[in-house]
Amino acid sequence: MNDIANPPMSAKQRYSAGVLKYRQMGYWDGDYQPKETDVICLFRITPQEGVDPVEAAAAVAGESSTATWTVVWTDRLTACDSYRAKAYRVDPVPNTPGQFFAYVAYDLILFEEGSIANMTASLIGNVFSFKPLKAARLEDIRVPVAYLKTFKGPPTGLVVERERLDKFGRPLLGATTKPKLGLSGRNYGRVIYEGLKGGLDFMKDDENINSQPFMHWRDRFLYCMDAVNKASAATGEVKGTYLNVTAATMEDMYERAEFAKELGSVVVMVDLVIGYTAIQSMANWCRKHDMLMHMHRAGHGTYTRQKNHGVSFRVIAKWLRMAGCDHLHAGTAVGKLEGDPLTVQGYYNVCRDSYTKQDLPRGLFFDQDWADLKKIMPVASGGIHAGQMHQLLDLFGDDVILQFGGGTIGHPQGIQAGAVANRVALEAMVKARNEGKDIVKEGPEILRAAARWCTPLKAALDTWGEISFNYTSTDTSDFVPTATAS
């Protein structure tokens, strides 16, 4: 379907007043060879009945770049061909009638340097509401090195984070303070202290802990930092708690972040809902103040989960690596929240790779050179427990933060015991893997062996050992295993 003839038109014909097909306006070029410096987007489109897929792809290219619905003579004042995005390839989505993968290339001149707000305003600005499409999804994006180098990326990066924390060779451990809502600052700090002293590296505010009537943010910060310092003295380790500075305005966020810094916190946290501009501003602030920036992807499920419409999380992860954050919730695959294991591994690769290779089973459509941009530490959080340690280590490797909230705080012998169970399970599994054991197969036995001398781990396995969340994922990759590379 990529060889539809594009009848040549004279400039006069092209710019006569009226309505032309997008494909006739220059937004389709089946022979186009994307340049090294082009941004390439892969959209999954579902055209309305009777709409030709190539015309729909051209419309996507048009509506995400220069086009309006009719011909305008003012185009002729510009080097307009540069500004037109070009759809250059349309493939039917395997085993999914009515859906097509449309490849669209954008010239570098379309984008302001160092601005995710600008890039997203182009690529997902209007086009997703476009009537001739029933649905559209931005599946993946290839960002050229030339554009990547205009972004500062993560304020700290996972390598430097480890150096600052003095923690190497194993996943980091965290937990989200529970219950999410209602604890006073003093009660909240108690949970932080117990978790950190018990053996976790980090504790975490939840996404909707800001400054509600039951706990003012200053009160939380003061008690939390008391807990962090006391736990650090008790263990001899660097400890941290993600102080959520998400607030109504940038001024409020800066005020909260400044206070976190004054109190000696190593990390602050924001929610994805603050928006890309605020994220880039907070990344600048963190870079200036030697602070780690934790990102909770609150809200992403509204547009990432359904396969036919929205933006894939792999694209969000790429934008966030460019915009800058040090931790990013990227799924657990085995926990309570949505996530097909291979698709989730694809998100992790986007966070941590120096060079991401095309990998269709993991949903990665493009090679992506990250141009030495710092790496994000992905966070696995949500319904995971010590009994899954072998699966988590096998799926995600060392550079990940494993967050066991309920799996720590809900431990029958208390929070410290919960933390001990998780840390012992983790260290035992890392040690076994390094010794060459097949942890996927022998994992349960390795855990049971450690539980023989570690009572808290035994209690954890007895409580949660059998819990799993085996639901079918909605967001999986669509590919033909034999398909050739694009």
Binding site: F168, G169, G199, D226, N229, A233, G264, V420, E427
Partner: protein, 144 residues
């Protein structure tokens, strides 16, 4: 004695496990060598959480590919500093890593008194915290 659940300093990869035997340490070293890391032996009698630079017992062994050789260095360090903290560290020179990739404690003093927290009251309800080792007041080499 420290009051955390392990009753000892919990830095490093394996402080929550029973002390590694020499055979187990050797397996970890072999794992690192297979990955192309260079091993180093470091020691200190000031294990403050922010004491980044422990003393190097010689340079990282970039050219040593035999775990037995690394174990000999460790044995020499233990002999010289039997009551110090000693850790094994692995360095990875891969582009975009260029940092430490493994670190675990292999020797400890017989008793680990740990750290106190000194609180200085400042403005409002804020406190300034200092983590202070109970042994650190003594001169280097006389702490344990």
């Amino acid at each position: 004695m420290m009051t955390n659940p392990m009753q000892r300093l919990t830095q490093g990869q394996f402080s929550f496990l029973p002390d590694l035997s020499d055979a187990e340490i050797k397996q970890q070293i072999e794992y690192g060598l297979e990955k192309g890391y260079a091993w180093s032996v470091e020691y200190t009698d000031d294990p403050h959480p922010r004491n980044t630079f422990w003393e190097m017992f010689g340079m990282p062994m970039f050219d040593l590919k035999d775990a037995a050789g690394v174990m000999m260095e460790l044995a020499a360090c233990r002999k010289t500093f039997p009551n110090h903290y000693i850790r094994m560290m692995a360095f990875d020179s891969t582009r975009n890593v260029e940092s430490i990739t493994m670190s675990f404690i292999v020797n400890r003093p017989p008793s680990e008194p740990g750290f106190g927290l000194v609180r200085q009251e400042v403005q409002g309800r804020s406190l300034r915290y200092t983590v202070q080792g109970y042994s650190s007041a003594k001169p280097e080499g006389e702490r344990y």
